[in-house]
Amino acid sequence: MSVAGDIHKLLDETVRRERGWLISSLVSKFGPGKVELAEDVAQDAIVKALATWPYKGVPDNPRAWLRRVAGNAALDRVRRSAREFGVDDDWDFATEEHDVITPSLSDPELDLMVLCCDPAIEPRDQLFLALKTVCGFTAAETAALFFMTEDALFQRLARAKRKLKAQSGNLARFPTRFALKARLPQLLKVIYLMFAWGFLPRRGEDLVREDICREALRLSDGLFAATEGKAAGHHALHALLLFQMSRLPARVSGEGRLITLEDQDRTRWDKEMIFDGVQHLGAAKSSNDLTRYHLEAGIASLHAQAPIWEETDWASISRLYELLNARTPSLPVLVNWAVSLMLQGDLEGAGQRLLAAGDQAGAQKLPAYHLARAKLADLTEDRASARAAREQAKACQVSAPVAEFIERELGFGE
């Protein structure tokens, strides 16, 4: 791990983004003719703020810190010489200081996301709306993510939009930060789903949509600046995204083929992301609420920390899946739990969970379910069942590279 490398990245990214934010906020105050002045003020303020870091180290939330401190420094300077800036003496930036932590000053996408998560809209429809509008998902992608038909999706979207229109007609401005706070769990869910799609798209030519993963990560980051990391589970979710993201360089071969966790060259994992993930997981522990993100991030961190596949801590992983299944039972969780049991030799336990999974609606459409059954059949040397299960996986809706991967596995079985 290179501390210097981390610092370089952190400073470059933090300063670039916060400078942009500060400049655009100031321009909106001074007027469009004063871009240069705004740049000067912003730069001075940032330099002044940053100069303490060599003596103090980097603050826990550098972006929020820089935004606050540099924002105040800029405000000071403007107040001291209001005339120079062409603003009235009674120019009221002070009352808007609160807005420093509302998203409406920082990120138009976050604004829209908060709008979409209006409680007047059904929770599931909020997600559809946010993914479709903010995250730029196509209808086909959104539908595939929820195992829905496109028609059904369109109907629900239309209804959600009508409600949103009725709601925002009453709004003089973007939702307040109190509204934001109430909507945080949904915002986290949008980011989670967005990332999940980017990490394993269910259709298309790409094995990974790294841009979507990055955008999800960026929005999550943006949400930190807006909430100072106070949302339960946010740090955990962020850690999860980072751990998953860290594996991307090793997950796709030069030819765009899927490389599973077992065969990945772990030296290609992004160490900086893992490092950041560990930091966020540490921060997540201070939260009183245990969310599903905590458990999922815990699982991801165990993978990230195993130097080789053979040293994966499957016992802890399956324990976390068990907790996850008790907390937020779902088909993929059950399937993954089964796989983790399988990999520590508990074939019977794995088989039981897969049977239970098979009884659930949607199992037949989930490639991971069929692939887990195939793996179990491999282990018991039941070649016919393994082959049948892989054929079923292939028939599910998957991206082209995943289909190719299953094809290869089928080939090995010959």
């Binding site: 210097a4 100069a51 870091w53 060599p54 103090k56 180290g57």
Partner: protein, 119 residues
């Protein structure tokens, strides 16, 4: 483990004359160092002193005089100080050697705190 104070003087115009890029590069060196030392448990804390202002308070044969800091004329001003943990002067000097202040041709004053009255 003893505590040592690193005092970091610099020329009054050391940072003001730098361009934005150069300043950022400098910051990266300094902040990287502090983070690395923190990770090793060597860094205790520090304060940056404001470049502007400063007073000198002197008792001149019974009457106390207060002057603004004569910092414009001096070759160096104290930019700030840090407290580090080290076994002895050898280690403290070793740590000071690694400080970016050295890379940038500055001086560091290293002094051990007197802990004899501590528990």
């Amino acid at each position: 483990m003893a505590k040592f104070v690193l005092m970091l003087p610099h020329a009054p115009d050391r940072y003001t004359k730098l361009g934005e890029e150069d300043f950022m590069d400098l910051m990266k060196d300094y902040i990287g160092w502090v983070e690395e030392m923190s990770a090793k448990g060597k860094f205790e804390g520090g304060e940056k002193l404001l470049d502007e202002g400063g007073k000198i308070v002197t008792n001149k044969s019974g009457s106390i005089e207060v002057h603004d800091g004569p910092f414009a004329e001096v070759a160096e001003i104290l930019g700030g100080y840090m407290v580090i943990n080290a076994e002895d002067y050898d280690e403290a000097v070793e740590i000071a050697r690694s400080h970016p202040h050295m890379k940038h041709n500055e001086t560091i004053i290293v002094r051990q705190t007197d802990a004899s009255a501590d528990e």
